[in-house]
């Protein structure tokens, strides 16, 4: 005995349906309570054990087959319906989105981040100190004598101190070197980025600017180490392999010997290119710490020696990022800040992640 239905026919019937309703009719015809398969199932009891088994399996197989065909075709019809619906749902995606503003890091900060990263990799620690300083820390300890021109009112900002003595707005970040030497013992290996002030205001000077200074004090730091450190720094900072430089003798009260470093540059279409060329650009001052400064900071200059260097962060920023107007750095022109600023994700690590 076999079933009088052909699964292929049923499948055809199902697949020909156009609506869910039509499928439901067919489903009921076979699978509904009074449908073919349940009716056949009821008859199973009358059969022998063997036949029951065979017939039962057949019926179950057919049942599953029909269920699957029904479900498949149902999904097909539903999806078709959805597709029709989606066709009428189009919107103008070219309409502007809600613009989220991306914040920016100021070029001065970005430059400081770079400097910290490079000197950090050479095991320098970063130090900081107050902007309002004592005369001793800013001048006397650094071997700048009382009549030195830098102390004139036209060069240095003075503020009243409570006890009658004048304090100064630090004219360089060197007082932090003094503080560090006074509070800690060598070896010392620090850089000090920070705000500095001089009474100057024209197209290339601002009354407030930023400096970074470095100080190394130990028993054997030499001028060769100083020179090598600075070359390494400048190559990393400007991201160039070949750096044409000049290390020439100069004078600072706090270093002896003293030097200034120039880098070669070319100027094409108003854009400076650092590293090569026939023109020189002064980029930093440096030298071996004057023994008098060490002594002023309670460090035995017969045992310890060291080097120091300092450079202007504005100049480094302008050179690296092609900024031509220094005063823009301190302005609140939001377009400028957006233009020259850096994404907070623009990390100055080697891998940039």
């Amino acid at each position: 005995m076999s079933l009088s239905v052909d699964s292929v026919d049923i499948k055809k019937k199902i697949d020909n349906c156009k609506t869910i309703k039509e499928i439901e009719v067919i489903r009921l015809e076979y699978l509904g309570k009074k449908g073919l398969i349940p009716s056949e199932m009821k008859l199973l009891g009358k059969l022998s054990v063997d036949q029951k088994k065979i017939k039962g399996q057949e019926l179950n197989k057919l049942k599953t087959f029909i269920e699957d065909a029904v479900n498949d075709h149902k999904i097909l019809i539903e999806n078709k319906k959805l597709e029709e619906k989606l066709k009428n749902e189009s919107i103008d995606v070219t309409l502007p989105h809600n613009e989220k503003v991306i914040g920016k890091i100021h070029p001065i900060s970005q430059t400081i981040f770079s400097i910290i990263e490079i000197f950090g990799s050479l095991n320098y620690s970063v130090e900081a100190g107050p902007d309002i300083e004592s005369d001793f820390n800013n001048f006397s300890a650094l071997n700048i004598p009382p009549h030195h021109p830098a102390r004139e009112m036209q060069d240095t900002f003075y503020v009243n101190n409570n006890n009658g003595e004048d304090n100064v707005l630090r004219t360089h970040t060197s007082p932090v070197q003094v503080r560090t030497m006074l509070k800690s013992k060598p070896p010392i290996k620090i850089i000090v980025p920070g705000r500095t002030y001089r009474s100057d205001s024209d197209s290339t000077h601002t009354p407030m600017f930023h400096q970074v200074e470095g100080l190394v004090v130990n028993k054997d730091a030499t001028m060769a180490d100083l020179k090598s450190t600075l070359i390494l720094f400048l190559k990393e900072f400007f991201e160039i392999d070949n750096l044409k430089y000049r290390f020439r003798p100069s004078y600072f009260p706090f270093t002896e010997p003293s030097a200034e470093m120039d880098v070669a540059y070319t100027k094409k279409n108003n854009v400076l290119k650092i590293g090569e060329g026939d023109d020189w650009l002064e980029i930093l001052g440096c030298g071996m710490v004057n023994p008098k400064v060490l002594e002023n900071c309670n460090i035995d200059s017969s045992v310890y020696q060291g080097f120091a260097f300092g450079m202007g962060i504005e100049r480094l920023s302008m050179l690296k990022y092609g900024i031509t107007d220094m005063r823009g750095l301190f302005d609140l022109n939001l377009k400028w800040l957006d233009h020259y600023g850096f994404s907070p994700l623009d990390l100055k690590t080697r891998s940039e992640i």
């Binding site: 809600n98 920016k104 900002f157 054997d220 001028m223 060769a224 090598s228 022109n333």
Partner: protein, 798 residues
């Protein structure tokens, strides 16, 4: 400091070319400022003869000249009245660059007559303002002779920067000495220093008031008397040298003093002896004493200034400038000479006080060779007698404070241990001796005597610099400076929060700005009564240290309006200053926001930045710096920066971490800002405690499998009740199971009683050991309702 190459070669015997000399100067610390080598600019211009000069057919004032130059005969149209047949002038050929007018000369047609080349004036050559006619040269010069040779312009002018420690190089001889030490030449004998005996006793004597402890103020003065001199124009060579370095020749006597100032670094003064009454004396000025100086200004002196006086009046200000009344003129017959020494600090103070700069002051400030008091007189004598004739008296001088020689031992290994380069002892000795040091060689040391003209040399470090700068800084080898040893902590926690917060704030959409640490006191006093005033501000509106960073940032609001930028988020991280602060300053990350939150978009709410917008930014920033924001407690702000009712401080433990809120309309009004601005201030140092990570390992993740449940409650509470008090109270019921308490609606208005508001709260519950039963949930809910009702006079809305 300026000089010409030929002048340098008076002192330095060298066959090296200009470029080598120039490079060497920079390498030894005498940095080149400029080199003016006119031989290149003027190479095209030569002497030419005017063969014919005829009237231009169409112009009365023009002549058509036939000019014979070394390259042939050319027709030149010329407007100069002195252009005539037979004269010799300077010819500029076609395509030459005319230095005075800065144009390239082209063949032209002037009123129908072709003109090839030009006969030039002094102005066109850029050597003077003379433009009344063309240059006429002596007929002795042959056609084709170079212009630069005729005008002696083939002597390059070199200008160098002298660092303040190198007063000795404010003389050409000093520069030559430094160059000789490098081996590029040898220092010649100084021909000006010769002992010339006097023939009579000087009728004028030098006196000084400075003795004992004060003698260093004016260690001495010397001079001599010259009779029957003839003052006149200086010889050409002397005039040319002075002109080349930018000095104006005046008369032989005056030019001699200027010449010796530059040649030997020895300032001098010459007095017309017939205008002096009695002896000359160095003394302090009396209060309100006046001196009419050479620049024809009446100078009011103070009691700390050194002046030169005779019996009747002042004749100069010591070390700075002589007096007009006794200055030498072309009529001067008898001369009295001053060669003096002054304390550099005294000269500096006087010069600053009088705002008077001079070549003499410049040199005295930087220190003068004390032995020059004698050789200065000799040099001046030689030149005065050579150029002006006459007779010299026997020298006169006051007592002279003895110059103490500076001597010390120098360890020759220092070059290696400090400089990092090996220089042989012989080379070290050669350099030092060339620079004028006396060197006594011992086993590992030199006993060094410092020359009198180098007051800047005080110890071994100075000697290292002397040897190294001459040996060449470029000879210092490179070393490996990468440090593989200890890994230092690069940033302390305080600095880490100071720098890192910039990224956190920028990441929240703010533009970083950098503004002055100063501001206008008029605004500052609205914010603080303890502002720190600057005694000498750069301008009247930047006269106080900023007690808050907000006003500086607020400048952006109006400044950017003209660019149609009416909303913004800006921040700065930096110090604020106040007398009341410990250390007088503290670092603050300040942000302001104003205008429409998302620009005027078709799809956005037209909402402006408000307290809750900035609070949301603030919390995100604090969270990104690991601040446990759930532990923040609110506290009202006492300052006048913020709107008193729409702001708060946030505290953790003993520290105020941040302030935020709407800015005080009174402050905004004073800055002419009409829109609402909201702001935050984060005290970066207080975040340091959250920055140190001892370990990167995280605690295990608690993957709790039980169903989370939420229950909503709506309460009516008095308006004065703060939302976070309710939230905290609910959390305290069971910190373990109460996961999250959020407020999803707040309503104040018509439908509820006046002094009340409705707050809708959603509480999320997380069972710990097994799924909650209905009873357990009911139980917690009741606890919540009870505690809110009893603590806050609330009623439950049903």
């Amino acid at each position: 400091m300026k000089f010409t190459l030929s002048w340098l070669k008076d002192h330095l015997d060298t066959d090296k070319d200009l470029d080598t000399i120039v490079d060497t100067l920079t390498n030894i610390g005498l940095e080149i400022e400029s080199v003016e080598d006119k031989s290149k600019d003027f190479n095209d211009f030569t002497v030419a003869e005017v063969l014919k000069a005829e009237m231009h057919p169409d112009a009365d004032r023009l002549k058509v000249c036939t000019v014979k130059s070394i390259d042939g005969t050319f027709q030149v149209v010329c407007g100069a009245p002195n252009a005539r047949e037979g004269m010799k002038g300077i010819f500029a050929p076609e395509n030459s660059f005319i230095p005075g007018t800065k144009v390239k000369l082209k063949k032209s047609n002037i009123r129908g007559v072709e003109s090839c080349g030009m006969l030039v004036s002094e102005r066109e050559m850029g050597i003077s303002d003379e433009h009344d006619g063309i240059i006429e040269v002596d007929l002795k010069y042959p056609v084709g002779e170079k212009f630069i040779k005729v005008f002696n312009l083939n002597d390059p002018v070199i200008e160098i920067n002298i660092t303040p420690n190198r007063g000795d190089c404010l003389s050409i001889r000093g520069v030559a000495r430094d160059l000789a030490a490098t081996g590029l030449g040898t220092l010649k004998e100084n021909i000006l220093i010769k002992n010339i005996e006097g023939t009579f006793d000087s009728p004028v004597k030098w006196e000084k008031d400075f003795t004992g402890k004060e003698e260093y103020i004016c260690p001495g003065v010397a001079g001599r008397y010259f009779k029957n001199v003839t003052n006149k124009e200086s010889p050409k060579w002397l005039q040319q040298r002075l002109k080349a370095i930018g000095l104006r020749p005046i008369s032989a006597l005056v030019d001699i003093t200027n010449y010796i100032t530059y040649d030997l670094g020895r300032p001098l003064h010459v007095y017309d002896a017939d205008k002096i009454s009695g002896n000359l004396k160095m003394r302090y000025a009396k209060e309100n004493e006046n001196c009419l100086t050479l620049d024809e200004e009446k100078r009011e002196c103070t009691k700390d200034m050194i002046v030169i006086s005779d019996d009747k009046q002042l004749h100069g200000i010591g070390g700075i400038m002589g007096g007009l009344d006794s200055s030498c003129s072309l009529d001067t017959k008898n001369v009295f000479l001053e060669t003096a020494l002054f304390d550099p600090i005294s000269v500096t103070k006087t010069g600053r006080h009088l705002k008077l700069q001079s070549d003499a002051r410049y040199r005295f400030e930087r220190g003068i060779d004390p032995t020059s008091i004698n050789w200065g007189v000799q040099a001046a004598t030689k030149m005065i007698l050579d150029l002006c004739g006459g007779e010299a008296s026997k020298p006169v001088q006051t007592s002279i404070l003895e110059h103490k020689k500076v001597m010390f031992d120098f360890n020759t290994d220092k070059i290696k241990s400090l400089g990092g380069v090996n220089v042989s002892k012989d080379k070290q000795k050669f350099i030092l001796e060339s620079l004028g040091f006396n060197v006594l060689e011992k086993v590992n040391t030199f006993t060094i005597t410092v020359p009198s003209f180098r007051p800047d040399i005080e110890g071994e470090a100075d000697i290292v610099e002397e040897i190294l700068r001459i040996y060449g800084f470029d000879q210092i080898p490179l070393t490996n400076v990468s440090d593989q040893n200890a890994k230092n902590i690069i940033l302390s926690s305080e600095l880490k929060s100071f720098y890192k917060i910039k990224r956190a704030i920028a990441n929240t959409g703010y533009l970083e700005a950098v503004t002055w640490s100063f501001m206008d006191e008029k605004i500052a006093k609205l914010l603080s009564v303890n502002s720190i005033k600057i005694k000498n501000p750069i301008s009247a509106d930047l006269d106080v240290m900023r007690p808050s960073n907000i006003p500086n940032l607020l400048v952006a609001v109006n400044q950017n309006k003209s660019k149609m930028i009416t909303c913004g988020k800006i921040f700065e991280v930096g110090p604020i200053f106040d007398e009341s602060l410990e250390d007088k300053q503290v670092n603050v990350a300040t942000g302001i926001a104003y205008g429409n939150i998302s620009g005027n978009n078709w799809n956005s709410s037209k909402k402006n930045f408000d307290v809750f917008a900035i609070k949301s930014d603030l919390m995100l920033i604090l969270k990104s710096l690991n601040t446990p924001i759930d532990n923040l407690s609110y506290e009202s702000i006492s300052n006048k920066v913020y709107h008193p009712g729409k702001s708060s401080s946030l505290r953790i433990g003993k520290n105020i971490i941040a302030n935020f809120g709407e800015l005080n309309p009174i402050l905004l009004k004073s800055l002419n800002i009409s829109n609402i601005v909201v702001a935050f201030e984060i005290f970066t140092e207080t975040l340091a405690q959250f920055q140190s990570k001892k370990t990167s390992t995280k605690s295990a993740f608690d993957n709790n499998p039980f169903q989370t449940v939420e229950r909503d409650f709506a309460f009516m509470v008095p308006k004065s009740i703060k939302a976070n008090h309710i939230v905290n109270k609910i959390k305290k019921i069971d910190k373990k199971t109460i996961n999250k308490v959020s407020i999803f609606d707040v309503y104040e208005g018509e439908k509820i009683a006046n002094e009340s508001k409705s707050i809708a709260i959603r509480v999320q519950l997380q069972p710990l050991e097994k799924t909650f039963s209905d009873e357990e949930i009911e139980n917690i809910s009741n606890q919540i309702i009870d505690i809110v009702i009893t603590s806050f006079s609330a009623t439950l809305r049903k």
